[in-house]
């Protein structure tokens, strides 16, 4: 992607990335460049490698990078542990958020924010200010305060878990946010609430990469670019209209185009 060299370093640069899981190739040469201030959408059929890509960017163990490179602000991401990537500003909203029984939701949030503060050389958050902050974000996400003291995602409904992911994101204010199907399982109203939550974060310093199956989300969070990931490769990229076109023509059309 050096053809489109910009004056600034891209926030995320994925170059010819090859990844295997248990010896099985999943990503087969992915290229993707995300600049600060941009919103990208990644679409593609089930099993095409979308979650794999976001996991590899976040540093989840179990994936073997067999080729290519991964850079964040020009830095080799593969050299960083997952927690270092998180502290450097990478946030992944999980497709399937994990339950951690017995651990207060608010406790995890505070530990996470403090970890980031330490990384930035800031003092630990003041308990009172922190609570004020979280409460205001919860209001924004229309989450009742009772969620603060519940176990992390423990017994949350599918939609509540997604909302909780975006709440965490709002509190942590990442530089690069990866949203893996955050819109799946949300009701119509929740989709708006969550979209507003994501849009709050749009800024010239940040970037958002969202994986979705539904073009509807893109009405709320309008992307700068749409990419289609098929069988471990980005076969097609374009503007917002690409999502509409996909919806009409399906993925076979993309495959046919690539074959052509």
């Amino acid at each position: 992607m050096n053809a489109t060299t910009l004056p600034t370093t891209p926030l995320l640069e994925v170059l010819d990335l090859h990844v295997e899981v248990n010896g099985k190739p999943i990503l087969k040469g992915v290229n993707l460049t995300v600049n600060a201030g941009e919103v990208h959408a990644i679409m593609g059929p089930n099993g095409s490698g979308k979650s794999t890509l976001s996991h590899v960017v976040a540093g989840k163990p179990g994936y073997v990078v067999t080729g290519g490179s991964l850079r964040y602000k020009g830095q080799d991401l593969l050299a960083l542990a997952p927690e270092e990537r998180a502290r450097a500003g990478i946030f992944l909203a999980f497709q399937y958020p994990l339950e951690i029984p017995g651990v207060n939701n608010v406790y995890l949030l505070k530990a996470a924010l403090n970890a980031r503060h330490r990384h930035l050389g800031l003092p630990e958050v003041d308990a009172f200010e922190f609570l004020q902050l979280v409460k205001s974000k919860m209001q924004r996400m229309q989450m009742p305060e009772s969620f603060l003291s519940r176990g992390v995602n423990e017994g949350f409904s599918g939609g509540e878990k997604k909302r909780n992911e975006v709440l965490q994101m709002q509190v942590l204010e990442p530089t690069l946010a990866l949203l893996d199907e955050t819109d799946s399982g949300l009701d119509i109203d929740a989709l708006k609430v969550v979209s507003n939550g994501v849009n709050d974060l749009r800024s010239p310093e940040r970037a958002i990469v969202m994986v979705t199956h539904y073009q509807r989300l893109l009405d709320y969070i309008v992307p700068d670019q749409v990419h289609v990931l098929v069988d471990g490769r980005v076969l097609l990229s374009g503007g917002k209209e690409l999502a509409l076109e996909l919806e009409q023509r399906g993925y076979d059309w993309v495959r046919a185009q690539d074959a052509a």
Binding site: P61, A86, L98, I100, L108, V152
Partner: protein, 492 residues
């Protein structure tokens, strides 16, 4: 022994004098040298006489010790627990050494091993307690001494008796004679019999009728108990309608020369009384290679003798090379309640075989068992529980939840829940889970920026929450820190 409510401190005074007189005559009855501070290794009746004499004990107590010893000699060391250790030579142990003065200890905190202080810091041990724990010479720790005096005043105003066992022998012999061995008889089991024969000290608590003990006996205990020896004896009696919360042990690493520990704890709750007994045990577990470490064989039992009485055991066990321990409740009184909440951590080469027994005798008795076992390294962690419903226990109920968390592929968790129901109206429920610490959970936390260490601690603490919430507040925090220290670097 039958239920015998209604002990009053006044009734005991006459008896007290009598006992003392009896003990006094015996004082001249034998000749073994009692001047030396430490007895040579070995155990026979003379040794027991010396111990009793050194403690200035009344005759009944010596007789009781001797009966225990004679019985112990007929017993076999139990072999059923899931623990392995070389045979213990009971004749190679010295059964008495005078409580050491702290004269030889460090003169101030500045002289204490910085590593030890660092651990205190991690555990969040209050500053004023660190000096005592580190064994700093007593007169340098006047802060805590004055604190202790204040506590003593408040307790005696409430009529609460709380003193070292050896003191109770002199000041309240009648109470002792009435209750000692009434829950754990001197014949009970190998280690209890041994303890009965040779125990050197411990604690005695009596809460009078209708009294709510004005403070957690924890704080006081932590400031006072030192050198109770390897055979410790605790007796707590909660008279009708009284309430007490007792905290034993300490999160600070406890150094001890003695490898074998065999304590006995007896609790008695009369009508409407409640005893809450919390333990944090952090004895030396041995090094990473399994060398050294304390063998801890404990008998703890509570008798809910009165109607509507309640006894609740909460324990956090992280120490010792071998732990053999089953705090139990006998639910004699109708509508009485027994509870057992336990976190047992075993790391490296530690072996823990622990659990509880709930014996339902009375009608509508209820018991709850929540056991959380955490295994790491090469450790073996066993839960062994018995729920027994006798024919008389009409309408009895038990709920047992038994969870194991595995931190490494090389450790082991074992669960032996025995259930014996002899009354058809009883309801007994059992739930058990075993899980490996979740890779995905861990990654979720790392992705939020937590360090591996913090993530593990958080998940483990979440796992233990149902138990920690039963601990007194300030202790729960320390217990959490203790868990973190015990499991440092243990995810594999």
């Amino acid at each position: 022994m039958n239920a015998a409510p209604g002990i009053t401190p006044t009734a005991e005074d006459g008896q007290n004098a009598l006992d003392r007189a009896v003990g006094g005559t015996y004082r001249h009855g034998f000749v073994t040298d009692i001047e030396s501070d430490t007895l040579p290794p070995g155990l026979d009746e003379d040794v027991i006489r010396v111990i009793s004499r050194k403690k200035d004990e009344p005759q009944f107590l010596l007789d009781w010790r001797l009966r225990a010893f004679r019985h112990w000699q007929t017993m076999q060391e139990p072999a059923w627990a899931y623990v392995r250790y070389p045979p213990i030579d009971f004749q190679s142990i010295s059964y008495y050494s005078a409580p050491k003065q702290n004269k030889d200890g460090p003169k101030s905190l500045a002289d204490v091993d910085p590593k030890l202080l660092e651990t205190y810091d991690k555990l969040g041990i209050p500053l004023h307690e660190r000096a005592r724990l580190a064994g700093v010479a007593v007169d340098a720790v006047f802060d805590s001494v004055s604190v202790a005096t204040t506590f003593k005043d408040r307790l005696s105003k409430a009529g609460v008796i709380f003193c070292p066992f050896s003191e109770a022998v002199k000041t309240h012999p009648a109470l002792l004679e009435q209750w000692l061995g009434s829950v754990v008889p001197h014949t009970d089991n190998f280690y209890a019999a041994l303890n009965s024969a040779v125990f050197t000290d411990g604690s005695f608590v009596y809460i009078p009728k209708g009294v709510r003990c004005p403070m957690e006996l924890s704080t006081y205990f932590r400031i006072n108990a030192a050198n109770t020896g390897q055979f410790e004896r605790t007796l707590i009696i909660a008279d009708e309608g009284s309430h007490v919360s007792y905290l034993e042990g300490c999160t600070a690493p406890k150094r001890d020369e003695n490898q074998l520990h065999a304590a006995v704890v007896e609790l008695v709750a009369l009508d409407n009384a409640e005893i809450k007994y919390s333990t944090v045990q952090n004895w030396y577990p041995g090094d990473e290679n399994g060398v050294g470490g304390i063998y801890n064989f404990v008998t703890k039992r509570g008798d809910c003798r009165g109607h509507r009485s309640k006894i609740s055991w909460t324990q956090v066990e992280t120490g010792s090379a071998i732990t053999w321990k089953y705090p139990s409740c006998i639910l004699t009184g109708d509508d009485s309640v027994g509870e057992f909440y336990s976190v047992a951590v075993a790391n490296h080469h530690q072996q823990a075989d622990t659990g509880t027994k709930m014996i339902h005798v009375g009608r509508n008795t209820r018991s709850t068992i929540v056991s959380k076992g955490i295994s790491a390294g090469l450790a073996q962690n066993t839960y062994r529980g018995l729920v027994k419903i006798l024919p008389s226990a009409e309408g009895a109920r038990n709920y047992t939840q038994c969870d194991s968390l595995l931190m490494s592929p090389t450790c082991g968790a074992h669960t032996f829940p025995y259930v014996e129901v002899r009354n058809p109206t009883a309801i007994v429920e059992h739930e058990a889970t075993t899980s490996r610490i979740g890779e995905d959970q861990l990654f979720y936390c790392l992705q939020r920026g937590l360090s591996q260490e913090d993530a593990v601690n958080m998940i483990v603490n979440g796992f233990c929450k149902a138990v920690f919430k039963e601990l007194p507040m300030e202790f729960a925090v320390e217990a959490q820190n203790l868990l973190a220290v015990s499991l440092e670097g243990s995810v594999g």
